[in-house]
Amino acid sequence: MLYIHQHTCISPQQTFNDIQLESLRESVDNKLKAFEPAYEGIPQGILRRMGKAVRMGVGAAIPILKNTPAIDGIIIGTANGGLEDCIKFLNQIIDYEEGLLTPGNFVQSTPNAIAAQLGLMTKNKSYNITHVHRGLAFETALIDAAMMAKENPGKNYLLGAVDEISSYNFNIDYLDGWYKKEPVSNKDLYGSQTPASIAGEGASMFLVNSNPQGASAFVKGIKTIHSQDEEFIIQEFKKFIQSHFPANQKPDILLTGENGDSRLLKYYSAVELILSGTNVLRYKHMCGEYPTTSSFACWLSCRLLEQQQIPGHMNKKIADNLPVKSIVIYNNYKGLQHSLAILSLP
């Protein structure tokens, strides 16, 4: 389907430059904020105007763009883009009674600002698109990249996803019951028996194409489901798993987006039951909950396949030892948007 050749990630953990996944950085006030690097390679004049989402997205993409002069398309998934700047802009309209407005916040506020900024900075006039399907934004971008790579063998695509914690979406989602009311540390996230999760943010970028040579990982399959019908979802899970794994085979790892929300455990338990006997790992204690966390899971999977080392804090159920040859990622956003992806060694 699609080969991943390079991957970068800016997240609440130390995942950029000097990568250290064994030690866990702790959440503050139920938020896991990104551990941002110094952003070398972004001119100061451009950097100072960037909102956090754009900064993280561009910052994560720069090492890949430097290593790959010929990019044939930029494909980004984000649910909200630079929402913090968008709200600043909308507030200005009210504060200044629909008078003269400053352009900076407006320029940074649209979801496609990340892909656009990358295109501008690298003078790249090729395919440039942003997918905004909330909890399936990254998956939709990945499907787009896979179709582009299939149609255009030999072409390289920058695929990625970004979302930030903005005070606006945090407050709205908090009031809507998606972030925990009681203080919960990411280190105790899965022990929490209450509804809701903790907030997170980050950006992950990948260089993808249809060439298996030198690849880090192979995206073997992806499935998206938009439904709250539990029985239908479980049947779709089963069909997808059976279509990729014959009865006598199973993946080495199931990596789930379990997020400490007691209301969503039934979905994760169902997938674990379908893949009983498979090692189960979890990742949202590392990145928190946001619409495009599956991109973080994809980055982690590439890393696990390459390094063959699993940080102890990710383990939920370890039945077999390494090596890791195939990983199934299951994520669920607000109990409505579900995705399954299979990554394997190329």
């Binding site: 100061q44 004049g45 100072r48 105007r49 200044y96 008078g99 003269l100 407005l101 400053t102 352009p103 900076g104 320029v107």
Partner: protein, 87 residues
């Protein structure tokens, strides 16, 4: 307001409005060019500065030629504000 006080205020406002994170107000010289090799500002910044003049000093610049004469350095901006401010 004294001219010197106005210049200091203007420098603080530029740093804040233009998000000049690596520049302190005291780092900006009164005669340092705002654009090009000086402070390194660009066309988007010039719009931000026109909005700044409107919001903070009640000054509306509609003629681009006039804008080019005003937005040269802190001295030219302060001179213009002194003559044309409405608040």
């Amino acid at each position: 307001m004294e001219k010197e006080q106005l210049k200091q205020q203007l420098k603080k406002q530029l740093v804040e409005f233009l998000n000049l994170t690596n520049t302190k107000p005291e780092d900006i010289a009164d005669d340092q060019p705002l654009f090009g090799d000086g402070l390194g500002l660009d066309s988007i910044d010039s719009i931000e500065m026109i909005v700044l003049l409107s919001r903070e000093y009640g000054i509306t610049i509609q003629d681009p030629k006039e804008g080019r004469k005003v937005l040269v350095d802190i001295n030219t901006m302060a001179d213009y504000i002194e003559k044309h401010r409405t608040k």
